[in-house]
Subunit: 354 residues, 4 copies
């Protein structure tokens, strides 16, 4: 099988680096094009990037020349890892030029005709892309994945919403510094410290969660009707967002029923998406888990890891959820979206997977 040729917009940033790491030896996708800011354009990738991952930069990627961030030279499948304001400007250009833009940016997530998708949760929102003007005119489109803080939460909530209904959600996060990119959070701000604020994060987390758990009806996503309140905090952790959650359900649920809902949640089973974890939600029974340093790589960094399920004195249940913010929460999320789009035949015709 020939692999899909893909490009990466924002290839030198933290999420761009994760794309490169995760795409190395990917069975369906092949990186053929890298773009970054103007000052990097024309350089060898190896010279332009400050590689911050703990696996070596692949030699053949290091040799690639960075292209200008314009659609002319680009392949028809683009993973976009851009800052929001740049995404707002560039992503529409690529979609208008006929590219499938699989974006990690927040710029268009809440736009009415843009699917905001976690494959295990709401892959059925993808048809929304057919409503995009770009799609009709050029074949191009834009699909997004949620904020890194929302993904683990929504994965943990989805099977509970399905079986018991969700009425209210309280969540307080302890987020890793890699979520802010590089250079990102200054060490003087976070060593031995907590910063109880991440700009716009609470708003994103709240509205994206309800859109992700909503229903596609009459070409629109009806957000879930539930109340949600988020507190977002930064802590001195490299990777992995940990979240304390309390939920109020519409129907009573026992501990066993909740554990079963999580355990049995395998909506992608049988689809063989290369990046999909076998067990999207992993429950750890130990008292003091999940912990980011020990558990963020579960399911190759793609699992939502839950623990500490216990009754809530205020709502019904409380628990802790953890997910890897630059894998499941960013590059891996977009990659899984692309894999689902591939199986739906929505990537370029030349490269349908076997």
């Amino acid at each position: 099988m020939q692999r899909h040729q893909i490009g990466i917009l924002g290839a030198t940033g933290m999420v761009g680096q994760r794309f490169i790491q995760l795409l190395e030896q990917h069975p369906w996708f092949e990186v053929v094009w890298l773009a970054a800011s103007d000052k990097s354009s024309g350089k060898r990738y190896g010279d332009a990037v400050k590689w911050k991952l703990d696996t070596p930069l692949p030699a053949h990627i290091a040799q690639m020349q960075i292209s200008p961030a314009t659609p002319e030279s680009a392949p028809k499948i683009i993973f976009a890892a851009l800052d929001s304001d740049i995404a707002r400007e560039l992503e529409p250009k690529f979609a208008a030029a006929g590219c499938a833009v699989i974006s990690n940016s927040s710029a268009f997530r809440m736009q009415q005709d843009v699917p905001l998708v976690i494959p295990e949760v709401n892959g059925d929102h993808l048809p929304l892309l057919e409503k995009q003007t770009w799609r009709k005119q050029s074949g191009g489109y834009l699909v997004t994945n949620p904020n890194c803080s929302a993904i683990g939460l929504v994965l943990a909530l989805k099977p509970l919403e399905e079986r018991f209904g969700l009425d209210a959600i309280f969540v307080s996060t302890m987020q890793a510094v890699s979520g802010a990119g590089y250079p990102g959070v200054p060490s003087l701000d976070i060593l031995g410290n907590v910063v109880p604020y991440i700009k716009s994060e609470e708003e994103k987390m709240q509205e994206e969660t309800l859109k992700l758990l909503g229903c596609l009806k009459d070409d629109r996503v009806q957000p879930l009707e539930a109340k949600i309140s988020a507190h977002c905090n930064r802590v001195p952790v490299e990777d992995g967002h940990t979240e304390s959650v309390s939920i109020k359900l519409r129907k009573p649920a026992t501990r066993e029923q909740i554990l079963a809902a999580w355990q049995e949640f395998r909506p992608l089973a049988g689809q063989n998406l290369p990046t999909a974890p076998a067990q999207p939600i992993e429950f750890i029974p130990a008292d003091d888990r999940p912990q980011p340093r020990l558990d963020r790589m579960r399911g190759h960094g793609m699992a939502a890891v839950v623990g500490r399920l216990r009754p809530c004195t205020l709502f019904d249940w409380k628990f802790t959820v953890l997910s890897h913010n630059t894998i499941r929460g960013a590059a891996g999320a977009a990659l899984l979206n692309a894999e689902l789009l591939a199986t739906l035949g929505k990537l370029e015709p030349a490269a349908v997977p076997a």
Copy 2:
């Protein structure tokens, strides 16, 4: 004025060290007796302690000999900084021997005739001590301060409860490692990590908060009738507990009214207690505060520092509160209790402050 002679039970631990630091040059109290575990008894304090504070161990304290942990040789005022199971055994012995035991331990906090007190919040619960059998028989008694995670929260809540009534409280903590004593949390557990569990902490935080905010009626404390749910987490911070809080009020309150309630909350004004902060609740308007490393020493470590007041999409308001866990949350809390007891004439007769 002659100073009260006091003793410290558990003098070598983290809280014991804070007592020594805070009592150095205290105008009302003088440390004359130090006790610790059997293996330290008889040693010079300077040889027995692993001093972990960033001010030097006072030379005259270093020279003191550690006494056996029995009331025979002890003065009549005891600050107790013992682990809970040891406190359960030792504190009653000292109270029965006629000592005023000002305890930081959790062992007896919830016992019906034991005052659990924050002077700014519920100093009026102190008369409960007169009901203690020890008091009647020997003059001794036991007074406690709350868990380090409850103190900052309750300070921030008290003026809101007074003015608007509290219906429901969500709190999610990010607690410093010094709260676990020494050696306490292993570095392998917390470097670059979050531990979403502290044994019994959520239960303590919940029940102590309601007792502290309750009313003394007919020789009993009626706990506040409100719902509270706590999530307790450990983070890699040396000192200072940070807490994300959402509250539901009984009466509507505007932002200005809440800020005014905090600003005007000075219940100890005019009492001149040496350890009382001039402003018990300090509000910082910057978006990203309070932060433990920058703000824990406000009010010499005795203030509850609040920030990020904003509407809650689920309840009424949300905010962040920070307090220093081994000063306001432990040694300073006990010290302030003792100062209030002194002004009430409940410490030994020989040493009434002017």
Copy 3:
């Protein structure tokens, strides 16, 4: 091929856990026996261990019952990960009972008839084991690997000693907390801090380095005649020891000659030892490397990573070396020793590798 059956002494500690992790799916060795302290004996391993690695505890290992730490029930190949004082008592018992004891402990490293070995450096010291009384009487023997701080240094020095001769060595270490085991270093001692002292570490580092670089002559190891001075420090890093090194050579060497010596150092090439890294010494040309978080996993944690080669204003050259302290510096070191012993036919006869 049938795999060698091996046992692990000290299986619940940090190094014991690494043994289990590294032996999972090892082509030559199979874990059949686990022993730990008396209080763990008889328990399921999964119940006794506080598993601290970021890969899950293998399920079949979790089910194994912990045996008493006596040779009666043990297999004939033992990986020992014991504290030094316990090793001093137990390891001789196993050797006397006919076991090949591959030890990570410091207890016997400097004993005259005990090989202290890094396979790439001085595998030719192994015949020393034939001089052990245990060997003569029962077939058992004791082989050791060096301290975690010495291994990376000695790997980096060996090719330089071979080609240019070493006259003097300065080394100052910045060591990870995992080197102290679990619970090990209290978080209050190391968060945002440096501890400029590790008990006995400088002495071990100095004497082991000279023994490792020495020659086996007349049934004795003649230590290298060179001067060495070590400063050992603990820093808030989870894994990976970083060391600043200055060296004085006996013959002049250019930068290119030193880089070539490192690059060409592959003494185990062609032996196909499963744990041996293809490139034992990896040089990184970037100004600011090696760094523990980014580079400790080079060669699956078995490489010595060097960088910052530059002239020394005091001696001849200076550089930085990094190695993973619980893989190359402990469990992986012992495992590689065992693999080399296997190819030499010195493990039990029943299991000669193909």
Copy 4:
């Protein structure tokens, strides 16, 4: 006594903030002028600064308006806390305009007619300033203090050089992140990590140490004739540089002689400089000290703290030295220089201290 009116160049940076903190309530100096980069000019200081110290920004300073960084409006005494390339451009302008420029920058430290001074070490180098052209033409001059990594080392070495002579120095540093200013070191680079490189730091440390320990002869500083080699590393510590040092002396010295040299080193005794520590070199006998978190504030952050004195197997003695990098290593260093200049009558005539 009227206080000297002083200005701060680079007032919003980390060192500028320390100047403000240390000058609050200074008996001799009064801050009347603040300058920063063009983008801050004209703003209230409180609006322009990201205050990162753990004492509150003084209210009257917060209200001050930031002036343009030109000498026209400036007072005649300037504390300069500028980046090196900006210092190179601006400091001469202020000196030429008649200002006493007390600089923390590296730009002119090694220039032949610029005194590089630690008052306790080489205050006798100050007359060099009379050779400056600026001095002759306008009365203005430039005086510098050394790099933050050199100061603690040189303080510890000075009395040993005086009594025993220094032949060779090996030093390996573990430097705090605050030394790089704000935002400075990205958290992704240093959390759980070591960076074995700080640009130009080793060169500065080496050459400045020899100039500081040199002699002023014939209007020139003859650098000390000794060999020195520095390894500079960044570690995840907020404040306080820790250094491992080995030294070779010209005359033999016993442990007692070295301790006495440190203990008796009080060259400023009797001068009553407000910022001078009573004991410039503090020795801590405990095995595992000094440590940055516990000891950096000795002497109000102005002491060099030494420990671990022990024989060196390669040179004569080795020890650890610690000093606070933004107090003794930066703002406090400049302040002490200014105090010494004041007593020498080299500050403006209107404000000679009593």
